[in-house]
Amino acid sequence: MPVLAESPPMVPPRTRSLVSTSGAEQAIKAFFGGNALVALLVLALITVFLFREGFGFFGQNLNNLRLYRSAGLEYVDFIRVEAEKHSELTRALNDLRLRQFQKMQIEGVAPEQANASLATFDEFATAFSDTSEPLNGLVSDLSEQASALKEQLFAQAEAGATAGAPPVERDAALAVLRAGTQQYDQAVSGVSTGVDQLLSTAPPLPEAKLQQTFDKWKQRARDYVAQLPAAGEKLRAWSPDTPVPWYRAISAFLFGHDWITASFWQDWYGIRPLLVGSIMVSLVALFFAVPLGVASAVYVSEIASRHEKRIIKPYIEFISAIPSVVLGFFGIAVVGTAVRAISELPMFSWVSFFPISERLNVFTAGLLLALMAVPTIFTLAEDALRNVPRGFKEASYALGANRLQTIARVLVPASLSGIVSAILLGLGRVIGETMVVLLCAGNRIDIPDFTQGLGAFFQPVHTMTGIIAQEMGEVVRGSIHYRALFMVGLVLFTITLLINYFAQKLVARYRMSIG
């Protein structure tokens, strides 16, 4: 029997060369690892730079608000608010006259005759408008003084405490300003006697319904006169030296309802009109994109024939590649005009806010954004539907349910969290989209007039993304306006991170629910 020769060991002992390559291997691994770090690094850098460039805003805004008080601009604005309320009443009066006139036109009254019968009303309106003269005069006088003082104070702050700076006679200037309180009281008594007299001799309107509105207006005018002295109390209580608390800089940004820049009077950086604009546009977009996106996902995954599926799926993905700027251009060139033309059709004359005046508005932008959101929602929702285990469907059929019942009671509920996360990601895409809203939303920085109900969705707005894109190119680096834009970017960044976070949570839950 031959003896088996001793076989060589199966595993060779470690040689030097293997050890040395493992050093290179380590280096290669470290290199790839470093690249993987880039994503983390970029996210961190984005956060850091948004904060770095944006956070100085609060300090600057606090100074801005302090100057607003110490130079007496706030004081003047108390009176200005009252003057503006007055002119609003005048506008309502003119609007009333216009409606009465249109009514008469419809009834077939000749324009001259209509004008003649409204002559007494016109006299009344003019007289009412004239009662605001003393208030307006006071505002414009005081505005000039306050502006001058603000400029001096600003120049002084710029120059720092250098010796050469001319001393600002702030107390004297403020004393002149505060004399306005008495003038205001006089003006108020003038306005109230004037308005009272006018109201007692107000002419009637021929149309009963408008007469009712007119009566309501009269009540508004009386209320207005009654609250005028309250502003006087505010003027007396006002002091230029009351400190502005630090949190005002933040609350004025988050809740302020004006975004006014490069103004001669006072700059305001309130994000609310932009936020409202972004939200409204997104609502319109989701209103269209959610039903369409989810319905087409259901259609493609459950109902369509194989041939249809092979065309529709790539086509919808193809839509997602349409550049947003091309969509925006299409909005300006075609959709905006079409929306306005449709609103002018006689068949829509029953809609109170039609015809619309601006072709570029929330609706136009939302419609185009819907087209951008549909592919996102479609792709993810279709994925979720397709991943529902076969057994769910088969069990449902076995129980005698038909296809619609299976879709509505089994498939959609089982993939609901997946569908909702698809909608959330669609929302994330819509709210962060820039070019379409910049081109099609109308770019008016104003909170739409919600008293018109749904008509608010046919008014132009400005959005957070739009304002950054529009104003970033023109601002001075390091200025308060520049920093305010970075703050808007930070808010936008936070919102999208939150949306993303919830979408991921839902996806995780979806994975669990289908096992």
């Binding site: 087409s296 091309v326 299409f330 619609l404 994330g428």
Partner: protein
């Protein structure tokens, strides 16, 4: 034969109605998109194509944007570009009435096409390099630890960051902090980083699709990890990676917001290669097609003189991006049917 019971018949009718509703919803989306393609395609084709040889409007494609001069001369309406107008003035003298000028509406869009190509190539090289490297790490080296979890969360969140925020970031970091000013380099980095999450996700998917057996076989033969990746994983994953990345190219080319204040100029007379020193090449701003479309659709009015450049530019851009996207989708559909391990 028993007839179908009435409640069954009713539910069948409801089913049919519901299916039609789904079908109509789907086709509304398709119709709206098709209308956009047709509108821009038909109106843009009038600018881009001509009826005589070479059938392509070479002036529009290969000329610079110029100001358009519109005026009347001896009862005829003249519409001349800047260069032609100057030549015309040489022979005819000043026109009797001051001409109306419309910016950007004459000439072509050549610098924009070149600029966009430069931006896309640079940012894609950057994004592919970093993206594929990260994906290799994530799929081949990493074990599930806290660090990897953090990286994955970062990638997911980065994908949701709005492009305008990337623009702000690029402006803050590259343009101001690094002092690169408005330049190609700043645009490359901004766009490259923006597209990074998509590239990483696509690459990782392709890498994971390579069967484990290939790696194990290679390792069993004594190859090192890197040799395995280089010889046995990457070659099989690369076609998939590139295919999905083409969609990334379409997105990079299509974005406007990130380059608005990092790389794009509204108007520049020199072409990118006309720089005094070679080192200046990456530090110059360029004109870009998407930004040009933004400028011509928002800064000049809509009328018969501007329609040419507006629709023409939109057409060329849409056609380019759609061609890229189509390539990607077709390649993917093909590879899906072919690739089965």
């Amino acid at each position: 034969m028993t007839s179908v019971r009435p409640h069954l018949r009713r539910s069948r009718i409801i089913e049919r109605i519901a299916f039609w509703a789904f079908r109509i919803a789907t086709y509304i989306v398709l119709a709206f998109a098709t209308y956009i393609f047709l509108d821009i395609g038909i109106k843009g084709a009038r600018t881009v194509f001509t009826t005589t040889a070479p059938f392509v409007n070479t002036t529009f494609l290969f000329d610079r944007p110029q100001t358009l001069y519109v005026f009347e001369h001896e009862g005829q309406k003249m519409t001349l570009g800047d260069t032609d107008f100057r030549a015309w003035k040489e022979t005819h003298g000043e026109p009797a009435v001051d001409p109306t000028t419309v910016a950007y509406s004459a000439g072509g869009i050549w610098p924009c096409i070149v600029g966009t190509a430069l931006l896309v190539v640079g940012s894609m090289v950057l994004a592919l390099f970093v993206g594929i490297s990260s994906a290799i790490y994530l799929s081949e080296y990493s074990r599930n630890g806290r660090f990897i979890k953090l990286v994955r969360i970062a990638i997911l969140n980065l994908a949701g960051v709005p492009s305008i925020v990337f623009g702000l970031f690029g402006f803050g970091l590259f343009v101001i902090f690094f002092g690169w000013n408005v330049s190609l380099l700043a645009g490359w980095f901004t766009l490259g980083l923006m597209i990074l999450p998509a590239i990483i996700t696509a690459s990782e998917e392709s890498l994971r699709a390579v069967p484990q057996g290939l790696r194990e076989g290679s390792l069993a033969l004594g190859a090192t990890k890197w040799q395995t990746i280089r010889k046995n994983v990457l070659p099989y994953a690369l076609p998939g990676i590139l295919t999905s990345s083409i969609l990334g190219i379409a997105r990079v080319a299509g974005e406007t917001a990130p380059i608005m204040f990092t790389a794009a100029y509204a108007m520049r007379d020199e072409m990118p290669w006309q720089v005094s020193r070679a080192s200046d090449f990456v530090f110059q701003g360029v004109m870009a097609l998407p930004y040009h479309i933004y400028v011509v659709s928002s800064k000049i009015p809509q009328n018969e003189y501007t329609e040419r450049v507006q629709y023409g530019a939109a057409f060329v851009f849409l056609a380019l991006v759609m061609l890229i996207a189509l390539t990607s989708i077709v390649l993917r559909e093909k590879s899906r049917s072919r690739l089965s391990w």
